[in-house]
Subunit: 384 residues, 4 copies
């Protein structure tokens, strides 16, 4: 009975691993352990405790680690706190594998804690290329990880180039696509009850009308720019005359800049048809992506889920640089006019056909199955 | 005036960067900042404060971070504490570059702290291959570092294979060889006053007689084995009938196993001609390496400095696996007989001719010079 | 030349010690050291860096320590992080005295760090009695402190009862009153330019009209109640028909409850004449206290500064229980009706005459003077 | 079913609470939770994991927190680390009471963590008076504690003077005396098999001969003096011509000074009849106290257990200043001659009659019983 411990550092982590967690839970030879940390324990970023419990998961450990502050040193302290907490946690849980997801700063902390303690690390979403400190973190995690589950072929090849053994690299697709597939199979219509179920702030415009969806996060190397960037995006979207549904940013350095930008704009434009939601369930968000006229911002969802769903996407700024993308994405620099022009093009084009670049909806089962059998030495060695 | 901050986590770090620190100090366009941490602040591992001050360096910051305990989770907590301390330190010092050395767990902490805070990282001794968790740490540091100073050509090529830009990789040799060269140029004779100047414990045998030098550290993935391993090494060396000079281990997980092994052996063999020193100055240690009949253990010095000096070395166990080595090294598994047989061969062979695999003695100046001019973007991107 | 280090953990700390800092700065035999930490480094609670710099103070050290989260364990982690940072800071600064202010959880951390490191601790605002965990913290700090500067006679007597030596207790008054006196001496009129200089959110009603001032913080043992409590206070104030000026809460557990209460009320009552300010300069706040029809909430300012200024105050709930108060305060439980009735009484009464319970405006100079001369043993001993 | 959580920070903590733990374990209305931390997890200070397990206790949580280093700032960092770990631990365990023992720096950390998190704190060994930073810590813990279990009447009175409610103070005696009584009831003879069972280093002299027992710890405010002090004690004891049994020091700042003093003396006096033990089981130690000619040093055991056993004790230096003591103790300053003279007097006097100053052997049961029933508000308030 192998013990597979999943470290979840925030909302995005969870939706990127949920289907694998379900598959592990069901697998007769695996025992699932769940450790919650990072922004996943902070109410304003969408505390995950209730969500996981409602989804049928038992949270084995919680590690409070999120340090306040809108500067990069808060990221360092958060990661440091995470390591202090996780050292005790992994000692208690004694897992056979720790699954770490993606490339955020607190995920690095979980990776180091596990690797130093001679626990095997399985990494999802490695081998991709993007445009912030996440780029360095992702590849550094690869150098600690013992088993790799990249989301696409290109990423898998990059992991091998990084000196990892080919037999440890398994291209399974992204588990987020598993959820997307299941959600849309059930119901792909617009969530007309979203005001009732999700609350949010701002005027309640008619959801039958076309709308733009905005999801924009701070770019850590330019965190002081965050407020200016979100303002440009909002103004560009407003120019189309369409309604806007908007999401609150994640907990990165700069997030307070984004939040301030949103609040200030709404304060000065109280009548703007912008409705802002805090933490939409993935099922609601996917249906918004299916039904939006255009998704604008720099969320990876536009590129990953967007390719599968066929959402018209305007990808703003440098945050997703280098990430493999489909036909559905138009890139734009973070200037009001450029963003506006790109949105216009997407409105003219309309929905795209589905491209399964990031998987076909069966990643979770494959991850569970591989982890139940794979044999890897705890002591790694570069292949060249 | 660029500010170059050196993070020193212990004795070995210091001797591996000292010549570069001197060159930075002298360079008209550079300002040196020194941060001391890790085992470098713990008396029993050789507190470096006095040594650095005596060598003419000002210590700008001290970060106490070493957590007690003979288990891998102490390494995690030490690294976590280091990140917490260094976040404040780098915020105060605002360096243009942080130099990190090698591959120990607290060096990873300094690397992450700097990289998260958008400070450029220069890494020495990257691209090498060894046999413990250090292997993963070293390559992960490479993925965060902006400028690379590998010690030899092979290591430099490996760094490029890891996806780093060739223009950021500078093969300058190892600064430790700079010291070795300078020391032996001055005086390469046996340090006959070592009992007077260095103290140590154990009988004071005649230093004109041939002696074996033992320097053995714990191997982190096998820390419980540490005591057994050192005992095997001591017994093998005793079998030759030669006197033994021995060094205390570093602060890794397992170090207490080594210490206990040494103490137990001496307790039960009070008459054994073994003299144990705590922290020999590098100048004394190099002269011991020059004059020993054979160096036994798993210290990297046998392979690196040993090649330059021509010391006959028996390298025990897995710790230095994969490190490029010269003619002077015979590898042996950590079993008493195997080690004994290897020592015998080396005693028959005697000293080797010098091989400059790890540099020609001018690494420090090159590092200072390059750091005064190099232009690298803070945002990294893998080349493939 | 004695080095006097002031630890400032937040806005309130700063206004409670500013006049002493100025006096220390001017004193020929003292050198001032400033360490900033806690919520004082977090933008949303009013980052103090700019304010201190503008006031002519050099910040020697910054310690980021504020952990996110609306639960008591975030307070523990914040204090723990503070101790880790301050251990390095005090080692660097080597102060002769550390001044700690009041009774918040991060102040406990600074106290322990200094006392463990054999640095003398001077404590202001000790010996008072209130109604939350601050009560325990305050008296525990007294047991670590070497010199005591209580704000009033009653508090000084309590400190002596706690087993402190009478010769170490100096009743100097509260330094906050020093500021209040200076501010009102200069200009005690309503700050008519407050919208222009301080921004804030909410409608800009006529400042010539009478207004209620609300300043309410969470009560830590009842943090889940925070939202309900602030809502009751707002409703009671609204019932009077007067305009409302309101302040954002501090960083305690429960602060997000307060914030949510304020936001929700404004969302549902967009036309309510409530203007909310983030971090008013003390000079502006004191003039608001001078000109408000009634101050409502549970801020200590109502009781301390209020007594000196003569502000009519309705003190809500348990937070200020046990604090010595003047004629100007009417207490009310945190229920809408009770608060409303109390406000009505105060509106009928109008301004009160000044009572110097918490000092006469010369506390800062006395503190500096005493610290330049006082001799106390670092090893404390209870007197009974 | 009340959950009673015991925090054990080291060997001394454990022997001071063991009988209460047994009573809690047996109590039908109580559930015992055990948290191990501090030096209790460090091998060289006597790792308690095996001992507790052998005694039938389940360790619920382990928090690694001991920071290396022989300076007071290591104490601060250890306490800070402890708070970070314990915040997560108490969140998981959700105890009704946390029992904290005595006055060491990591016990303060456990106290704060519990109190900030609104968990009731029960404190044993409060109200006493001693001569180091422990003095401040002990009384500060009292100010956080909700229920007090002082070891004697005088201590109980002091707790009430500190402003605690009389109904929360229960003079139950010291649980260490419970163990002592049980041990001596079973077998009070000299442990003649001590070399076989406990190992230790140094010559194996005849245990039928009279011997001096030395147990000396560093005094934190004078930590640099530690080596000098232990050397004086050893020399004084050697002068008597008797054999010496000696104990390793605890983990306080200065402990390395003590250790170095012991090692150095033995190195230069290899024939001295001194046998040093690491961590004697309490059962062995008590029998040594019963049979020694004189106990020398500054351990509290001389004063507490010594009074009950009737051991002749020479109490050296300031560490136990102010602690209530019986006829069996002669105090001496830490100078060789003074210590020697005091030892001589004790050798002439011989064993003393038992004095039950610190309890009659039934403390543990009373503690369990009271904790099963006592009702105290979580919000404390000073009584005056």
């Amino acid at each position: 009975m192998r013990k597979i411990c999943v470290f979840i550092g925030g909302r995005a982590n969870y939706s990127s691993i949920k289907s694998a967690m379900q598959a592990i839970q069901k697998h007769p030879e695996l025992e699932l352990q769940v450790v919650l940390g990072g922004s996943g324990l902070v109410d304003k970023f969408g505390n995950l405790e209730k969500i996981l419990t409602a989804d049928g998961f038992k949270i084995d450990e919680k590690v409070y680690m999120q340090v306040e502050g809108d500067k990069p040193n808060a990221m360092v302290k958060t990661a440091g706190l995470g390591m202090l907490g996780l050292a005790d946690v992994f000692e208690r849980l004694q897992p056979d594998f720790v699954i770490v997801i993606g490339d955020r700063y607190e995920v690095m902390a979980a990776t180091i804690a596990a690797a130093y303690m001679n626990i095997r690390v399985a990494h999802t979403m490695g081998g991709e290329v993007t445009g912030t400190i996440d780029e360095s973190i992702r590849h550094a995690i690869t150098k600690f990880a013992h088993v790799h589950f990249p989301a696409n072929k290109e990423a898998g090849e990059r992991i091998e180039k990084l000196g990892e053994r080919p037999e440890d690299v398994f291209v399974v697709g992204c588990p987020r696509i598993d959820n997307v597939k299941r959600i849309l199979d059930e119901d792909s219509s617009m969530p007309m009850d979203i005001y009732q179920t999700q609350g949010g702030v701002g005027p309640a415009f008619d959801l039958n009308e076309p709308f733009i969806l905005i999801s924009q996060h701070p770019v850590t190397t330019e965190y002081s720019e965050a407020k200016k960037q979100i303002t440009a995006t909002i103004k560009a979207a407003m120019k189309t005359g369409l309604n806007i549904i908007m999401l609150w940013p994640n907990a990165d350095a700069g997030s307070e800049g984004i939040s301030k930008g949103i609040r200030t704009y709404r304060e000065f434009n109280p009548d703007a048809k912008i409705h802002v939601f805090k933490n939409l369930p993935i099922s609601v968000y996917v249906r918004l992506m299916k039904n939006t006229a255009c998704l604008v911002g720099n969320s990876s969802s536009g590129i990953r889920e967007g390719a599968f769903i066929g959402t018209p996407v305007v990808n703003v700024g440098t945050r997703q640089n280098g990430r493999e993308r489909g036909q559905n994405v138009i890139d734009a620099p973070d200037e009001e006019n450029a963003v506006y022009e790109a949105i216009k093009k997407q409105l003219e084009h309309g929905p795209y056909v589905s491209e399964p670049i990031y998987g076909d909806g069966h990643a979770g089962e494959q991850i569970a199955d591989i982890l139940s059998k794979v044999e890897v030495p705890v002591q790694k060695r570069i292949v060249y």
